[in-house]
């Protein structure tokens, strides 16, 4: 098979991406040589910062589209979504690779990343999370491999993977469901530090449901972008279906969050004008309330431009949620200790580099692999 002639390698976008990849890479090297203190504004009050909130928590939530579409196509057998299953799996694979890069840089000893594999401590949610990352990234590599084998013409290898594909998808859906919720479960133990606007015994479930909503919005958005920039022709019904799915899941999420607000946190907490309450309101309005209202109306739900905007809102909202849980939910605890955190320009450069690398690899895969062939 030939490379996709519709996609040009050397465009201005590619140069911009490469620029960010190089600067981000240099900053990563600087971090590995000189340490976290020299690169980041992290402190004993804010041991987890921007990288963990955005690149790891946000990145993994964005990758949720992979397991949802794989589940819908291979387990539910809804053939309509077959054209987007490969892009969705690729996004998830790249998303997890990006998260792994971010985790390696974020931990104090990047070269000890393998420790949890041999030093088991199954009481720790972090250990559970580490296992899920390892297994799911491997599973995603397997789910992704047919594209590579097709390109290389390794027919036998492709057939072998084809035989275990459904098993891999079932395994992957299980891992992904648990990984998304485990990331929420990480914060269960910080009960005395987090604002009740976010902390709840059902936090793992909140993480899972919001990740599903975001995953669908992300797949929809990226398919729109590939349609526009990478000439991937898809039926509009796919977008309408994803918008409907987003509406259903997001409405359920809204009910969960409202129940939590009214029954656990107390409504007053969301309107007391503090930084947390404002961040909470912004997150809920942008990511949940406005999208639900817009999608509830059929004219909007069946209009590509509106779906595009709603997708952006949902993605921003869930990313904000992860940053809120990771950073702003503990603001008042740390403010009482007179400490604050804002990321350094180097933290931004690294994140930008990682995201650019993801987009660049996606584009190269679209050009050189049979990504849109189904």
């Amino acid at each position: 098979m030939e490379s996709n002639p519709n996609i040009k390698t050397w465009t201005p976008t590619t140069f911009v991406l490469l620029f960010f990849i190089v600067t981000g890479g240099a900053t990563m090297l600087y971090r590995i040589i000189f340490g976290l203190g020299a690169t980041t504004n992290l402190s004993d009050a804010y041991p987890w910062g921007f990288w963990l909130g955005l690149d790891v928590l946000g990145g993994v939530a964005m990758a949720a589209g992979g397991f949802i579409i794989a589940c819908v196509v291979y387990i539910f057998n809804w053939k309509k979504y077959r054209p987007i299953v490969r892009p969705a799996i690729l996004t998830a694979f790249l998303g997890y690779l990006m998260a792994v890069v971010a985790i390696c840089l974020d931990i104090g000893h990047p070269f000890r990343i393998w420790h949890p594999m041999f030093m088991w401590q199954y009481h720790s949610v972090m250990w559970v999370v580490a296992m899920h990352v390892i297994f799911y990234t491997t599973t995603l590599a397997l789910e992704f491999s047919p594209m590579l084998f097709e390109r290389l013409g390794w027919e036998k290898a492709r057939q072998m993977v084809g035989k275990v594909m459904v098993g891999a998808v079932i395994f992957g859906v299980m891992l992904s469901t648990l990984h998304q919720s485990s990331l929420g479960a990480v914060y269960l133990i910080a009960e005395s530090k987090m604002s009740p606007l976010w902390w709840d015994t059902k936090l793992p479930f909140h993480f899972l449901v919001s990740a599903v909503a975001m995953g669908m919005a992300m797949v929809s958005l990226e398919t729109m972008l590939s349609k526009k920039f990478l000439h991937h022709e898809v039926d509009s019904e796919i977008f309408y279906g994803l918008a409907r799915g987003t509406l259903i899941v997001l409405s359920f999420y809204l009910l969960l969050k409202l129940y939590q607000l009214i029954m656990v946190a107390g409504v007053g907490l969301a309107f007391n004008g503090s930084l947390e309450s404002n961040m909470y309101l912004v997150e809920m309005l942008i990511g949940v309330v406005i999208p639900v209202v817009l999608l509830a109306m059929k004219n909007f739900r069946r209009n590509i431009n509106w779906i595009f905007s709603v997708n952006l809102l949902v993605i921003t909202g869930v990313l904000l949620n992860r940053l809120n849980v990771g950073l702003f939910s503990m603001e008042s605890y740390f403010a009482s200790h007179g400490l604050s955190y804002s990321p350094t320009w180097m933290e931004f450069l690294v994140s930008l580099g990682i995201i650019s690398l993801g987009i660049f690899l996606y584009k190269m895969s679209a050009k050189h692999l049979p990504l849109f062939s189904h």
């Binding site: 590995i32 040589i33 000189f34 340490g35 976290l36 203190g37 020299a38 992290l42 402190s43 004993d44 009050a45 041991p47 987890w48 291979y74 387990i75 539910f76 057998n77 931990i107 104090g108 000893h109 000890r112 420790h115 949890p116 030093m119 401590q121 199954y122 009481h123 720790s124 949610v125 972090m126 250990w127 559970v128 580490a130 057939q159 993977v161 084809g162 035989k163 594909m165 459904v166 998808v169 079932i170 395994f171 859906v173 299980m174 469901t177 648990l178 919720s181 485990s182 479960a185 990480v186 914060y187 269960l188 133990i189 910080a190 009960e191 005395s192 530090k193 015994t201 793992p204 200790h337």
Partner: protein
């Protein structure tokens, strides 16, 4: 947290899809308070005896900069990590909070209003360091067992060679104790290890050994609890023969009893700690996070983790069953229409 048999059975129960049984054991365990080793060691700090001389802080640094100590590093062997004020003279160690150079710190509280609270002293000191929880959050969250609770003494020790630096312990510790060496390219977590390295030499925690007034005393937690209860039963204004350095009372000092808040902090907080506090001022004012309850924090995450094996099983079964059902539906549909190949699994 050592992997004990009960937990292992619970874990296996989940793995065997005995979800119901697993939940029952878990909820039964949630009610029982955590047990500490019989000879668990700890410290009793009595703020009414503390004069804020900071002898504990200085001697903590000296003792822990020795090989085996929590502040010892091979590359800085022989140096004591004092924190002098910025641009100031190197005459007086002046850390302002716990850090990668300070395991133990004396903080002062000065806001008492005699008019509002006539019984409350106008000021108080408080000594912050690791509380060595009976069921410690940091140990339960550490994914590589770098933090461990010693089975005999209950001391929470740290192994820098296992740690890969995820810093979950910092997020999890309700008391905000673990500190990180941010400035190093090869960093470690820094926390009080109750002078574990001195026990082997027949000594005990430096902060107690060098405390001149008996504000910090070392000993078995059982004995310290008894001593604390005895003090709360005393009347303000009476005199009492306070043990100094060690709860065994080989050295004592007689002093007039001051007003106590009727509470032993650490008796039940976070499920109980091996470092106990007495004070004349409400504990919230001494810098303790008021949201810390008697909750055993590791149970919050264990209630999730213990269900993971059952969830793995349930999700795998649900996925397989759904796939089989949709496959059959597909086959039936194809039979009704044209007989085509149904193997489009890839």
């Amino acid at each position: 947290m050592a992997i004990n048999r009960r937990d292992f059975l619970k874990f296996s129960a989940g793995a065997g899809l005995l979800a119901g049984a697993g939940v029952e054991t878990a909820s039964a365990a949630a009610e029982a308070p955590p047990q500490m080793p019989k000879d668990a060691l700890g410290i009793l700090y009595d703020a009414t005896l503390c004069i804020g001389c900071m002898s504990c802080m200085v001697n903590c640094k000296k003792a822990n900069a020795e090989p085996g100590g929590a502040l010892f590093h091979r590359e800085t062997e022989g140096q004591i990590p004092y924190e002098y004020p910025k641009d100031g003279d190197a005459i007086y160690d002046a850390p302002i909070r716990l850090s990668d150079k300070t395991l133990c710190i004396i903080k002062a509280y000065r806001a008492g209003d005699k008019a509002v609270e006539p019984d409350t002293p106008a000021s108080s000191f408080v000594k912050q360091h690791c509380l060595h929880c009976i069921d410690p959050a940091c140990v339960s969250v550490c994914p590589v067992k770098a933090l461990q609770k010693q089975p005999d003494t209950g001391i929470i020790t740290y192994n820098k060679n296992r740690c890969f630096g995820c810093r979950y312990c910092q997020i999890a510790c309700p008391f905000g104790i673990p500190q990180y060496e941010w400035s190093k390219a090869s960093p470690s977590v820094i926390k009080c290890q109750l002078c574990n390295h001195r026990l082997a030499q027949g000594k005990y925690s430096a902060c107690c050994e060098y405390c001149p007034t008996g504000a910090s005393i070392f000993g078995r937690v059982e004995d310290l609890r008894e001593e604390a209860k005895r003090r709360l039963a005393l009347k303000t204004g009476d005199s009492y023969n306070y043990p100094v350095q060690h709860v065994d009372g080989r050295q004592r000092t007689e002093k007039v009893v001051e007003h106590y808040v009727d509470h032993i902090y650490g008796m039940n907080e976070a499920g109980g700690t091996q470092y106990l506090f007495l004070a004349g001022v409400e504990f919230n004012k001494l810098g303790f996070n008021p949201r810390i309850s008697d909750m055993v924090y590791p149970r919050l995450t264990w209630s999730y983790v213990s269900h993971v094996p059952a969830l793995i099983g349930a999700l795998l079964v649900a996925g397989t069953v759904t796939r089989l059902v949709t496959q059959r539906m597909e086959r039936n549909k194809n039979k009704d229409q044209t007989p085509t190949d149904e193997a489009d699994a890839s």
